[in-house]
Symmetry: C2
Subunit: 229 residues, 2 copies
Amino acid sequence: MDGMTLPIARSSLPEAAAERLRTLIIEGELPPGARLNERELSERLGVSRTPLREAFRMLAADGLLVQLPNRGAQVVSLSREDVRHAFEVMAALEGLAGELAAARVTDADLEVLRGLQHEMEQAHACRDLPTYYRANRAIHDRINALAGNPILTHSFRTLNARLHALRFRSNLVRTKWDRAVEEHREMIEALSARDGERLRNLLVEHVRTKLRTVLETMDDQMKCVTGGK
Amino acid sequence: MDGMTLPIARSSLPEAAAERLRTLIIEGELPPGARLNERELSERLGVSRTPLREAFRMLAADGLLVQLPNRGAQVVSLSREDVRHAFEVMAALEGLAGELAAARVTDADLEVLRGLQHEMEQAHACRDLPTYYRANRAIHDRINALAGNPILTHSFRTLNARLHALRFRSNLVRTKWDRAVEEHREMIEALSARDGERLRNLLVEHVRTKLRTVLETMDDQMKCVTGGK
DNA sequence: CTCTCGCATGTTGTATACAAAATGCAAGTA
DNA sequence: TACTTGCATTTTGTATACAACATGCGAGAG
């Protein structure tokens, strides 16, 4: 019998620990800059230091931690420049995803995307930010999946996780929010027309716009911290 | 005194081991598919299993190893599809690098690049493949560095390492070699003109051409293995 | 009073011992 | 002969002990 090869992939202890830590970082429980004490964390996660250290290595490779020799690991804290760099790469990756997706998308895929777009627009109309973000992310994820390139998807996810660690609750100015929704509509259009180049350009521009928004949010947060008094 | 903060970065044992393994893999000493016995390797590298396992995690994150729970690590072996995916992403990254580089390149940078181009053309004239490859790689590396985006550079290097593990001795057909050199000349031109878009297109096309070459080489090697008798 | 040096304490780095899982082989059965 | 089953051996996974290094504090000199 064949066809049932390589099914399981039971997660190992280091992987499980890494997954747990990833969540803690992205949820903000372990904030940027936090130092990670091995003994303390290993007790908290209920594993010994050995698998925990392997988990550290994995997260460091993902860019969520930085490890300093003999001084342990700490949660990465991104500078303005880091964010800009990450978004630049992100834009290129999303652009590629769009280009590839346009060449492979089926009518069934388009239906799903239109459904998500609809959901997103409703959330926009109701000013329901959480639902909006969920639908928004689902759309981007799906376009990426459509590209059918695991390496691309992996890079995309990794970069995304790094940026999510920032936890910018960008409380979205009306005009920008409106524009983002409009951009999404155009993206679906380009995809329907199988116009890869146009979709690429739209996505690149979309990500660049988001960068500007995020940077402004970071500035605001800076102001709150430094000039608040 | 300030300005001398964070200079050192003494390499830790796991990092050193990872670096060593990386070399062994890329040089082909550890061929694709090879299983890595922890005890044997730890003796060979003169470290214990603990740091070696951390090295494994790092290399796995780079995509040079795959780790199967309870079954150890083995050197990745790329399928045709994997190669195509890697090159697709590579093209996007190089394209981005070109675009950014064109916006930041100085006249001094251009002089260096023209020097490398000259070196490459001479190697081409002399049919000196090793020198050609070295100059070729130097040019691409430099364009990437010019982009001034560490995240981009890191992704680029990582993907490159993965592909180098293939060790395709593409014995370069004349026509393709000529064309590659010509493409490089155009790239320097676009860079001189600070034409980012053109440079991006050239680089994307350049990488796609290389993909075709590599795939053909892989096919040939396949033929040698399967149909050689 | 300030700065430096040295020690005490805590934290990370590595090796190793032990546990758990997988692998290969041989004997037994259909 | 082909296939299964169980055991011996090998290999990986985890915990822990010990060593090396970093950090912070206090005493003493300038």
